[in-house]
């Protein structure tokens, strides 16, 4: 099956117009030494029927979280996605378009990105927003780059309580330029603010704090960011956007840049990608921001319209002096977020956040009442929490999977001191019955022990 629309007659006419006989003559400029002598060794082409059959077969080797009860989180979540989201992002005018360089033919995407910028500024309390980076992890790295370019300091402070993979990405990004990534250790599951010493702050370009952190715990961001006041070290918060329905926006604590992952807002788990990274910041850093930004303007008839603006920051104009190399971003995922936020609305977002919170706390309270399960930290949390379960991870998995339960995540691999500590995520999709099944299962398993 292929998608070329040419008839043989057309091909002949076109070749003869060019004064050549065969398609292969188009490649006379490629030296013979380089030209492939043999055809590619690929499987025989498939018809649509065969293709769909084959891919369905492969997909069925996966277990869908919809056929299980999932408590998996850690940066990727099983939230509800209203059907309007897929309906809108499946519109061909949106998903088959390129980056909106030609604004007169791209008002749809441009206006929705302008609306997105507004919503993200509302959520985070910041002045300006770009229209996406690749994901939460790269948004942390880009924010750090931004800080370095603002104050020229060569060290980054990041809390140990941020997602371990985000830290890994940051280190990969910083290593070639020999920028030190200093991890602020944690204490009781939150950033140990006593470790953020004055000399560290002086040397460092920025301090990156998650909210809530990787364990679901609420960081005392109201006490941490003020430590930076009086320095030119930038305060960067990496936030869960849903939690912002309940939590004060990072701007209120003096954040300079706010980043995070947007999967939660209307994008499926999709094995971890694509999602999108967001970045909002103070207006004074506008010209240092990475990625695309949409601005409002007028057309020659005086109608309001939208264009990509401040492109002089970007790689296609500024080349090696650009604020970032990003070109393709995650627009369609941003559109999903835009539709999601518009659909659930002000009250809906609050209600969803509230139910996530309540579900998680219901489960937590019931679990820690079981003998053999203890709270690990003493912190307030949002919709993820860590408990000690007196079972090793293989055993635990076996017991739970028999009941169709996925998760929790064992933390020992990332934090060796956290043996038998397990991370649960609870979304608005989990019902009381599902949680009771988990509680009951663990209760029985631990009693037998």
């Amino acid at each position: 099956m292929d998608y070329t629309p040419h008839s043989n007659k057309e091909i002949k006419e076109m070749l003869s117009f060019l004064g050549i006989k065969f398609l292969k003559d188009l490649y006379n400029n490629i030296p013979d030494k380089i030209k492939q002598k043999k055809e590619l060794k690929l499987p025989e082409p498939l018809s649509e029927i065969e293709l769909l059959g084959r891919l369905k077969f492969i997909s069925k080797k996966n277990i869908s979280t919809d056929n299980r009860i999932s408590f998996l989180g850690a940066g990727n979540y099983d939230h509800f996605i209203p059907s309007v989201v897929n309906y809108i992002i499946s519109k061909p005018e949106f998903y088959t378009a390129y980056t909106p360089y030609q604004s007169e033919l791209s008002q749809g995407i441009l206006q929705s990105m302008f609306e997105y910028q507004t919503m993200m500024c509302e959520l985070t309390g910041m002045d300006i927003s770009n229209i996406s980076l690749y994901d939460g992890a790269t948004s942390v790295a880009e924010a750090a780059n931004m800080a370095i370019s603002i104050n020229k300091k060569k060290k980054i402070l990041i809390s140990e309580t941020i997602h371990p993979e985000y830290r890994q990405v940051l280190k990969t990004y910083m290593k070639p330029r020999k920028i030190e990534v200093f991890e602020i250790p944690m204490k009781e599951g939150i950033t140990d603010k006593g470790q953020i010493k004055e000399n560290l702050i002086d040397e460092s370009s920025c301090l990156i704090i998650p909210q809530p952190n990787f364990f679901g715990n609420l960081e005392p961001i109201d006490e941490i960011f003020p430590i930076l006041s009086g320095s030119n070290t930038l305060a960067i918060a990496c936030v869960n956007p849903l939690s912002l329905a309940l939590l004060k926006p990072p701007a209120d604590f003096g954040a300079d840049i706010v980043v995070g992952d947007g999967q939660i807002l209307g994008n499926p788990q999709s094995f971890g990608g694509p999602s999108f990274g967001f970045l909002t910041c103070k207006k004074k850093y506008l010209r240092k921001t990475p990625g695309r930004i949409v601005g409002q303007t007028v057309d020659s008839a005086g109608n309001i319209g939208y264009v990509l603006t401040l492109q002089t920051r970007e790689q296609h104009i500024r080349r090696e002096k650009a604020t970032s190399n990003i070109c393709s971003n995650q627009s369609l995922n941003v559109l999903a977020a835009c539709v999601y936020l518009s659909y659930v609305g002000r009250d809906g977002l609050y209600e969803i956040a509230e139910l996530c919170y309540r579900n998680a706390h219901y489960l937590f309270q019931k679990l820690v009442a079981i003998k053999g399960i203890n709270p690990t930290f003493n912190s307030k949390f949002f919709n993820e929490f860590v408990v000690y379960i007196d079972l090793d991870s293989t055993e635990l998995k076996k017991i739970l999977s028999k009941k169709g339960i996925l998760g929790p995540i064992c933390l020992e691999e990332w934090y060796p001191s956290l043996k038998k500590r397990y991370l649960f995520a609870v979304t608005e999709k989990r019902t009381k019955d599902e949680m009771d099944l988990l509680i009951d299962t663990l209760n029985k398993a631990l009693k037998v022990k």
């Binding site: 398609l23 080797k61 061909p92 007169e104 749809g108 990405v169 094995f271 790689q315 369609l332 219901y362």
Partner: protein, 483 residues
């Protein structure tokens, strides 16, 4: 006509019901957030009914142009048709609803797909191993440069420079800076290809590598490529392939056979996955066996029991460039595309992309200045300098094309051509469409002579007229201000 912003639609006083009613034991749980962390004022989000929401976005979609709307000859972007079956496949429940930290036993299908896509891409490019982690072409470039850095660090080399042709994509030098190198531009020669003499002057012990697009951004295959890669290798550098233009040569020539050590591909260009209004894309990186130990973690492997697994045990790896494993949903579509076309289909796609480009080029060369006459690959660059004498710029021509129902080509790139118009028709357009485009371009050339005003004030038939970009950059209205 202006469409109001979603914030200007009157809000409902109360939100719609989204959640089920929950048992009292849950709804009675108090939200106990410390007062100094608790939000006091709700974010101003829209609060509108579902029918209103749908109309709003429907209106917006009608003001957007995609490949499904019409011809989209945007040079360097490979705006080919996006097969619908691949969209359907990518939405299969067991692809959409899988979590990255599920047990390997539960995600064998996803791992198999990634493993097999790696093998397919290796065959197409001649490389030995791919990582599918990078999210876009530029992200792939950065990953490739991290690998170059790791390679030299292991060898104890302290090299500072990456050489890039002056015709290169802007992402190349921008990625070089992000990876801590200096971008050194090498001039193009009178045929638009790498000037070997100039290259020779730039190559030395400071050269970490060279990045090259081949066919290059002018649409020409650089036939000196073997010489170029040898010259770089001779000073100990690595040669990086920017795969943005692979669509011209699938099944014809492999980057590895040209001497490239590292290759990035744009699955959203060459392998038909949609551009999504700017993303998501996917920019896998392929390397030689020697460099494969530096690839990102985890890699997907197959053991001798036929089981796929994620391998994190790579001490020389550069680490990670993204959380989790890549833009999986995009990978599914590219995999499906390759399986649909097979070897013959991919080769035919490339051949017809090249045929279409040359057909357009020859027709247009009578009306527009053609800087380099030789046979092109999948795209070509013309210049509006003849029209510029009459006060018409490439921008005016681009805007006027909209009135004929076409998306404009890329303009003002590559930078080495004055008033550049870069046209890439792709293989999924037939002669009829190309002829209509030629006709439009001829008429525009005539209008430049006879009625230049119509070009300067174009577009005329779009819902919105020419937008003032200068005003946008001056006023900096970057969000809606609530009254």
């Amino acid at each position: 006509m202006n469409d109001r912003l979603i914030f200007q639609i009157p809000y409902l006083e109360k939100g719609k019901q989204i959640l089920p009613t929950v048992p009292n034991e849950i709804s009675s749980i108090e939200i106990n957030i410390p007062d100094n962390l608790k939000r006091k004022k709700a974010p101003e989000l829209p609060q509108i009914s579902e029918p209103q929401l749908i109309r709003h976005y429907n209106k917006l979609s009608k003001k957007n142009f995609g490949v499904d709307t019409g011809f989209y000859p945007l040079g360097s972007c490979t705006m080919k048709y996006n097969p619908k079956i691949n969209e359907e496949i990518s939405r299969l429940e067991n692809f959409v609803n899988i979590h990255p930290y599920q047990d390997e036993e539960d995600i064998q299908g996803a791992l198999q797909l990634m493993y097999e896509l790696d093998v397919l891409l290796c065959e197409i490019t001649g490389m030995d191993k791919f990582t599918l982690q990078p999210s876009a072409g530029a992200h792939g470039e950065l990953t490739g440069l991290f690998i170059i850095d790791a390679y030299h660090r292991e060898k104890g080399n302290k090299r500072k420079n990456i050489i890039i042709p002056d015709s290169a994509h802007g992402t190349n030098p921008a990625s070089v800076t992000m990876a801590g190198y200096n971008a050194v531009a090498v001039d193009s020669d009178e045929n638009g290809k790498v000037d070997l003499k100039k290259l020779n002057e730039l190559l030395d012990k400071e050269t970490a590598g060279l990045m090259l697009t081949n066919p290059n951004t002018l649409g020409f295959f650089d036939e000196n490529i073997l010489k170029i890669s040898k010259m770089v290798h001779d000073v100990g550098g690595l040669v990086y392939y920017d795969g943005a233009n692979l669509n011209a040569i699938m099944g014809i020539a492999k980057p590895r056979d040209m001497g490239f050590d590292i290759v990035h591909l744009n699955l959203h260009k060459t392998f038909s996955t949609p551009h999504g209004g700017g993303g998501p894309g996917s920019g896998p990186i392929g390397v030689t066996k020697e460099l494969s130990k530096f690839l990102t973690i985890p890699t997907v492997e197959l053991n001798n029991k036929g089981r796929y697994y994620l391998d994190y045990d790579k001490k020389d790896s550069i680490g990670k460039v993204k959380a989790f494993y890549g833009n999986f949903n995009v990978l599914i579509k590219a995999y499906s595309y390759i399986l649909s076309l097979g070897a013959k289909g991919l080769k035919r796609a490339s051949q017809l992309a090249v045929l279409n480009a040359n057909y357009l080029k020859k027709h247009l060369s009578k009306y527009y200045y053609l800087p380099y006459p030789e046979i092109c690959m999948h795209e070509f660059v013309i210049s509006a300098i003849w029209q510029k004498e009459k006060g018409i710029r490439a921008l005016d021509i681009a805007k006027r094309l909209m009135d004929f129902g076409f998306h404009p080509p890329t303009i003002y790139f590559p930078l080495i051509i004055n008033e550049a118009i870069m046209i890439e028709p792709t293989e999924t357009e037939n002669k009829e469409t190309l002829d209509m485009f030629i006709k439009a371009m001829i008429q525009i050339a005539k209008e430049a002579d006879e009625n230049p005003e119509i070009l300067k004030s174009a577009p005329h038939k779009t819902q919105i007229k020419r937008l003032d970009e200068v005003k946008a950059a001056r006023d900096l209205i970057l969000k809606y201000e609530y009254k």
